[in-house]
Subunit: 225 residues, 6 copies
């Protein structure tokens, strides 16, 4: 990876990017790539979230962005848990506008069949944006797994997450866990899935599949060489 890449990590909610591809983003940074963050939802004021919770979240986003050294943070501010109410064409347009501004060659997405319906909506919108007629610059699209979402998809019809791309994050796992801890309100203690223990256990298992001490796993959605 000698060329400098422009990366866009799309998170339905803040913390998805860290759970799903935090170590990989850190590697991109270490290799000199520009990494951008697209956060699709926010706690909308009219959803009844207490102002201090909204403010805490804003602080977390800033700290996380700084910890990664992101080149840009792009927030769509759509109402969390309610993306099914946003007209699909509007969501496609909003994601597309960021793609045109950032001009990434590599995009990381949540998995289509995660338990959370926001993840499905984000996948569909992003897939529509990169489907091939348009942005020729997007040459690599990968779907990540999100602890507490991907393994809780319950549709009994076989469409599970089956990774075919493994990224060695052995040298970045501790840093990933440190960043995850910045999301005080989202992380809890084991056996809660979004816990340091589960993140480490998952990294170990994905690592053992790839012959290394820790890995993140992806499904290749589309790559052009």
């Amino acid at each position: 990876m000698n060329t400098k890449h422009t990366i866009l990590a799309i998170a339905p909610h803040p913390d998805d990017e860290t759970l799903g591809c935090g170590g990989t983003l850190l590697r991109h940074r270490a290799e000199g790539d520009d990494v951008h963050w697209l956060i699709v939802t926010a706690m909308a004021p009219d959803q009844g979230f207490p102002p201090e919770r909204v403010e805490a979240r804003r602080r977390e986003v800033r700290e996380v962005a700084r910890a990664y050294g992101f080149a840009g943070t792009h927030e769509l501010g759509l109402p969390t848990t309610r993306l099914d109410r946003v007209p699909r064409a509007d969501l496609v347009e909003a994601v597309g506008a960021v793609l045109r501004r950032v001009v990434p060659d590599t995009v990381y997405l949540p998995f289509r069949h995660d338990a959370h319906s926001d993840h499905a909506a984000v996948f569909d919108a992003a897939a529509a944006c990169v489907k091939g007629l348009r942005p020729p610059h997007v040459r690599r699209v990968y779907a990540y797994e999100t602890l507490s979402e991907t393994e809780f998809g319950l549709r009994p019809d076989g469409a599970g997450f089956r990774p075919n791309l493994f990224v060695d994050i052995g040298a970045r796992l501790d840093e990933k866990v440190r960043i995850l801890r910045l999301y005080a309100g989202e992380v809890a203690t084991f056996p809660f899935p979004r816990s340091e223990e589960c993140v480490r256990a998952q990294a170990m298992l994905r690592g053992s599949q790839a012959g290394c001490a820790a890995a993140e796993a992806f499904m290749v959605v589309r790559e052009v060489r």
Copy 2:
């Protein structure tokens, strides 16, 4: 099954619970379990249903509940055939409220890929409710098949109903059929699928798969032991 269980049968429309798992609910009752009924939709007045039809339906629901000896009937009253218009988060919240009130250990759901879009919406909402982070009490979730819906799912992509759990209802089939007849407006004569003949034929075939005279078939969505 020596412990007493609390059961919740979720029906998008009244009669789904009987077509899908009526015999199994009767077995639960006979074994001393508490059985609750969650009816998601109703004929909303502003949908233009004639008042006498709405009243007849109300009467049917009462009679069916009495015939089963249900411990509780929970009606969400959402507009029938229009669940795609109800915000997903609202549907999740409404189903979740019933789960918190009933505290069931066992839940019966319609199949995700039934022809009727209301069935898909109910499956998705219920799946979101029981996905594992929250109600620890729900330890068994099963999807039932609904004559006239499950076998009419037309998506040509392989995700059909493939049962892996069979419940012997040989001793309850006649009672199931009697209850089904209470839904005067929903049942018709063969070859209409919601007919006594089809219910009996399906019970026989599922029975022959399980080595008994009559059975209901399910897909195990999630069970914890």
Copy 3:
């Protein structure tokens, strides 16, 4: 095919019918069948399309209908790219009304997993209409592939277009291409997928699968004999 058939080709947007089953429709016409066209969406004025674009589209539709010799053109006029905002029950009712008027025995549909969400909405609505309880006249339902939509479906879960019905259009390919050219705004030059080159390449490959010089390919959704 000695009996005279009544055919309905359902197009989410004008040009889908030609890309997907134009050659087959021409064969139906040549064999004396009545062919109807159902166009689900239109450029709604309030979507901000310039009037001359709307007018050009209207002209194209007229010319295409004449070129095929369609027995009827049925336009629902729903807003393009925004079918996810139309209540499902309304879409089902609108498609159902056309089915009751045309009384077709054969229906051609877009594929459920095309990239465009309008295609999914149309498939679902049409599937609900023909699901078997109702119109006994619809005995054959086929899903067609649409260049630039079907091959761009990105869901990484296996539900791709796998044709099992091939129609020899060797004698109609040139005419299909001529009709496609009437859609001036939709067709571009290779390697754009909606190009004459791609249409011919696809017809050749499908032909080689079927042992003829050119073919269109379908998935059989449901057929009764």
Copy 4:
């Protein structure tokens, strides 16, 4: 169906053709088509079957062929339950020889994922024969379901039998059952799946899916028009 067709029904073991497509074959006969029967296995003497059982089977085959009025019966005589031991290329060659002799345009096959490994072997061999480079005469290939085999396929991975072709056999069901009874040793009493009761129940359910009193159901493997 005004042209006269030549049909080949491929049965791994005698009785599969009747369970799977007996009513459809009777319709073909009634419509004037030539119907051929290919029986892949036999009770090989060195498999230890008692001579009177082998003789009884021979008699059954003759009687069944006569009852249908088959134009030809083609027996490969391969060892029953042991097709996995026959080199695949030999099985392909043996099936191919019959295809070259009979020159059918329509072929009926067992389903690929039936419980019995002989069914899988027969499907694979026949699929290799008709795969498109060679016999241009085979224009229609359908997979049938076999009571006691198709519903007992246990692979928990979604590849179930999902029919998309239904043939009305209302006028032929009694005759199908009469022929089935000729297989004295294979048929038993309900809830055994190969019983008259199950055959009738299945025909009813498939009928209710197709809007008629009795039907047989198929998956379209490949059809060229």
Copy 5:
């Protein structure tokens, strides 16, 4: 689980039963069930394994059986890595003989799509044995996952291991690990998948899916109640 059950755990090779369902078998023992072990393959002398390796394996099997307190150990002694060479009917007959002797009501199987072809052969043979016509006593069949086999199945077609049954083994995990260590030759150090670290990480992740500290995960193949 108040009735006493008879359990059969089928292992293609010794250690599969421990990796896949060791904790669950220990729970069965603790609850008073009889547990039997069926080992399908052995290091056949003519496969060139050194005698001391064969002897060590024999000792391991004895020690493991003692540690679990198995009611019986049944060894078929078929050549390891070469089950594809054993006629399917012979393998079915050999597994069936054990089923007739043990008369289990519950059977644990390897997953059909594990990387190792021996696992597929064992699944297919056992599935043929329990397919429903015959042993009425087998009422529960579950497929387990095997570290180093299940996650290495590479077929890129979606048929991955998607568990729907979770068994809490929090109180048995240490004992499972102790037994695993008895297989000196099979276990290695992390990131090798058959390592104590991976076993613990997997138990944690499966536990977090089920709301407990450690779990084993299964796919329900077939259950009759």
Copy 6:
């Protein structure tokens, strides 16, 4: 791609490598990579092939290897169309020996569900070799599509070839076609699928999916970064 790679293209039969990934191999060569060719089968003398045919094939292999500038040609010489008769463990061992000798980092394989059973056998054996416990050097495994095999896989269960990796071969297509012509006996005229016309049509369509004039398409089996 600035590091020098070692590539292994595995062909069940000579010409599969060219149909499937000929343009990609030419790009690898142009970028300075070492490319090796593993040919699994040969026309065994005892299979009754005429000596001049065997000799012609030998000549073709030499010419093709020279045209590509392969670093090595590795022939296993197993009997063509009869790989199902070769013990799986032997095939795994034979492929594994080549992997140990060549030490590739990138492997190209045929697709698992191609029509030809030799392709399935080669995929399974190679997958077993690279499954992760062993050769750490193999970091990228891709499955290619083979005209006349991949599109003729007839299993009606959804496991079709769905590419997620596209390689631009616009600058190499003519050379690929020239090499293909060296296989005089395998290539024929359109609509035969192994024809220059079909190769060009397929390259165009795959190109239009990737935004370039010609492409080859792959499924990513496994990649480690």
